[in-house]
Amino acid sequence: MKKFERFEGVVAPLDRANVDTDLIIPKQFLKSIKRTGFGVNLFDELRYLDEGQPGQDCSQRPLNPDFVLNQPRYQGAEVLLARRNFGCGSSREHAPWALEDFGFKVVIAPSFADIFYNNAFKNGILLITLAEEEVDRLFAEAEAREGYQLDVDLENQRVITPSGEILEFEVDEFRKHCLLNGLDDIGITLQDEDAIRRFEEKHRRQRPWLFRQPA
């Protein structure tokens, strides 16, 4: 995982509540056994006017001109601005893989679904939860001004708008640490290998049926 560094990025506003993971990446693309290459199918049903198929050359497909990510002013966006309960639905990690592959580093919303929240951080994507009013304001600003960018500073847990307004956000210490240092959490967990083994032995003594296999 790459280290998450402070950056200024173009903001794309996706004005829709309850964006589910089926919408982020439709099921036909989950058949891949790889982690990469999902970006061209991010928001496939919103982005294109036809039904997408895995392995297709997407450069030839008809684009939906009304969809935010197809508008010239939002090209190269790295910050996705979204509405409440973003990422609800399935546990497919293909959703953050698609966002990351497309080029998004950050999603800002008033709330996120739990499983998506975990999955995003494990792929180096920072999810920022801001108050509904703050998100409303960012929507208004991003839509009003072409080339609108936000300065995202994870170290100090703040987002700075072009006018210099500072929006602070909460993020738990462990996730922040992993993102800033680009850490693989399996490696971190395995530092506790002895504790896991001790727990496992005790657990097996107390509840041997949990370790049973059929005859």
Binding site: D22, G89, S90, L190, W209
Partner: protein, 483 residues
């Protein structure tokens, strides 16, 4: 100090290490694997030169991609016509073989939807932590197990360390008190709960379902309720252990036997919330108020009773909801104030990890018995949740009831719930579905899903539109609950 909730107990029993930063290591007793969310996890292990921590904690079966037609299934993996799907199923087989993980392959009679297979085998037990790279893992909470849906990175993490990095959730209790009316099922209960608290109502919580109406449900019904906890935003749904739980598990292949059974049962009896346990949030519904439910929109919270109508978006409480409702109506091709019973259907799907167990099929069969699927319905299909459910249903003659009525009787798998295989809706088609998600495109590009119970789906297949199962003549739907 107040007592512990069921969730608190399960958490404490599996806590390996609490870190200062608020995260914890939780030991995982069971991981269920399927073909869609595991290949990248195995690949990650391989790249890092890591080995699975404990092979016998894992159990695998292909379910999402498998074809459900009898002819294709007879050919095993080579019956999978889509080459990309075939690679995915083959990759699961290869990974299980390479690492030595038990797998019920495509034509093993024990194959099926992971969330049907685990409980059916007794591979899900009370007091376990259960994970799977699938959000409907909450299903297993019906057994008083702490069951999480996880992402692929977490699948890899559990394979490598037998632990999950987690943060403790808050406790919510959803009580359903009273007696359910005839024809009102577990599916209607959970849809009504989601309608009440919303799709984000359970975010950050573990939901324990309780109250007399929940306690009166069979294990199949309890699994239906916990299955859809995620549709209320909660990763975890739970129901306390009681006699119903224990009776269901006796003599299942993975369940303990002899003296170990007695010790296990004594331990499982403790898996209830203490009388003085404190919940962060409590929601109560009256069972009598719940009627058969039908979803009209593109989110499971967009649901109403069969006697209701499609809402007018203008009447919604705020602008965001108004826009969501308006967009949903447009996608669904429905009008504001249209009666639910006036919604015409094109297809009917009975199946999925929500409603494909034997009791679900019995409820649907009672309604279908001696009737014919309406001419206007292009396809009505019944997809059992596992090979064993299919055998049981055939032993009871349910397959005959369905096929005589004009339903297709299929082989087990996830099928049209998410349409990763060939079973899907065409654009604009309305489907009465016993599955769990009515998102845009979920059952096929442009498809329009209405979530209902198995009895309601069967009744809709016969009428060609939604009908209230409670109004059907006696001896069929009115007794649908008795199974």
């Amino acid at each position: 100090m107040s007592g512990q909730t069921l969730y608190d107990k399960l958490w404490n029993q599996h806590l390996v290490k609490q870190r200062d930063d608020g995260t914890a290591l939780i030991y995982i007793d069971r991981q269920l694997l399927h073909e869609v969310t595991s290949p990248q996890a195995f690949e990650g292990l391989r790249l890092a030169n890591r080995k699975p921590w404990r092979l016998d904690a894992n159990l695998a079966t292909p379910d999402h991609n498998v074809p459900t037609t009898v002819k294709e299934r007879a050919e095993g993996n080579s019956g999978i016509k889509d080459p990309v799907s075939l690679i995915q199923v083959q990759t699961l087989d290869d990974n299980c073989l390479e690492y030595g993980i038990e797998e019920f392959k495509i034509n093993d009679p024990r194959q099926g939807i992971v969330h049907v297979v685990g409980p059916e085998q007794g591979a899900t037990l009370p007091g376990m932590t259960v994970v799977c790279g699938d959000s409907h893992t909450a299903t297993h909470g019906a057994f008083g197990a702490l069951a999480h849906g996880i992402g692929t990175s977490e699948v890899e993490h559990v394979l490598a360390t037998q632990c999950l990095l987690a943060q403790k959730m808050k406790n919510m209790q959803v009580r359903v008190e009273g007696e359910l009316g005839l024809g009102v099922t577990a599916k209607d209960v959970v849809l009504a709960i989601i309608g009440e608290i919303g799709t984000a109502g359970g975010t950050g919580y573990a939901i324990e379902f309780a109250g007399s109406a929940i306690a009166s449900l069979s294990m199949e019904g309890r699994m239906t309720v916990c299955n859809m906890a995620i549709e209320a935003g909660a990763r975890v749904g739970l129901i306390a252990v009681d006699d119903t739980t224990i009776d269901y598990l006796a003599e299942r292949p993975f369940a303990p036997t002899a003296e170990q059974w007695d010790a296990a049962v004594a331990d499982w009896r403790q898996l209830v919330s203490d009388a003085d346990a404190q919940f962060d949030k409590v929601v109560t519904l009256k069972a009598e108020d719940i009627e058969p439910q039908v979803s009209w929109g593109t989110s499971p919270e967009m649901v109403t009773g069969i006697s209701g109508q499609v809402p007018d978006p203008q009447a919604a409480k705020d602008e965001t909801v108004q826009r969501s409702h308006a967009r949903a109506l447009e996608y669904m091709g429905l009008q504001a104030n249209q009666k639910i019973t006036d919604i015409k259907l094109d297809k009917v799907f009975i199946g999925s990890c929500t409603n494909s167990r034997i009791e679900d099929l019995r409820e649907a069969a009672k309604v279908a018995k001696g009737k014919k699927v309406a001419d206007s319905i292009q396809l009505a299909m019944v997809v059992p949740g596992s090979g064993l459910v299919k055998r049981q249903a055939e032993a009871e003659g349910l397959d005959k009831i369905f096929t005589e009525a004009g339903f297709e009787w299929r082989e087990p798998g996830c099928s049209m719930c998410l349409a990763m295989n060939a079973d899907k809706l065409g654009a604009g088609e309305h489907c009465a579905s016993t599955s769990n998600r009515n998102f845009e495109g979920r059952q096929g590009y442009g498809g329009r899903t209405h979530l209902v119970s198995p009895a309601m789906a069967a009744a809709a297949a016969i009428a060609g539109h939604f009908v209230d199962v409670r109004t059907l003549p006696a001896n069929d739907a009115n007794h649908a609950q008795e199974a």
